[in-house]
Symmetry: C2
Subunit: 146 residues, 2 copies
Amino acid sequence: MTYSIKEVAEKTNLSIYTLRFYDKQGLLPFVARNEAGYRVFTEGDLALLETICCLKNTGMKIKDIQKYIAYVMQGPTTVQKRKELLQHHRQEVVAKQEEIARNLAGIDYKIELYDAPNATSLVAQEVAAAKADKKANGLPDPYPSF
Amino acid sequence: MTYSIKEVAEKTNLSIYTLRFYDKQGLLPFVARNEAGYRVFTEGDLALLETICCLKNTGMKIKDIQKYIAYVMQGPTTVQKRKELLQHHRQEVVAKQEEIARNLAGIDYKIELYDAPNATSLVAQEVAAAKADKKANGLPDPYPSF
DNA sequence: TCTTGCACTAGAGTTAAGTCTAGGGTTTAT
DNA sequence: ATAAACCCTAGACTTAACTCTAGTGCAAGA
């Protein structure tokens, strides 16, 4: 079984434009063409594309994905390099996830504040403090009265 | 105590350029100016900027941060709207975190493969399958021999 | 065979989020 | 009173990752 670019677009949720763009960027050197120059995807190609999507969806730059694919195209001798590349990326993703979790905690704090029964008065206090802060430094007050 | 743009840049790890850019985008309507037109940041301003960074670092678009700040500037009457905006964003962040975790699992699978004692032969099998796949469909083989 | 749909390339355009430059005031220490 | 270190704006430029257009060719059904 083989697939046209349109079918692959549907399977992967990438647009046809994006697939062609990826090809241009050297991410799909393994995709064959038929006599008319049309791209022909095999099952094996889809498996590799799946990996490409994992890398993309975790924020890897196209240039780095291209590097990984270049290793893959060189065969089993590059196993070590592939592993290092993926492990390095893994570190970055985990770090990013932790950073997001930290920042989300800051947002959760705000949500709790806004969710409190006396949220309005708590926020009013915040504003009062900010106003006082401005006044103490002889600066104009950008907040509305009340 | 007040802070110059340079001091704020150091405290927040945002560049001076970025701070001015954010101001241009309407993210810092609360920041006052002195007689010379220089931005003057108060402690209260830093607290708000901290929230802006939480939103930015979790991937909120500047336009949406701008919306949130606009609510803040309107005072305590907008508590409900702020809460809804943040809760909605929270959903998106959590969903994104889950998506990343799923894709990272796909990468971990590859790492394990490359980390196996017989990784080279396992990868060789992968390539053999891909080659067979191409051949079965009468397509050229893009992989090197062995 | 004609129409409709899908494919191709090259290259222009878009969007988000900065980043930098030019030209010009301000402040501070010497 | 001048150099060094700041600050300002407007607006041009950059980068990543698409997204689309124009012009053209192939393919399959009525």
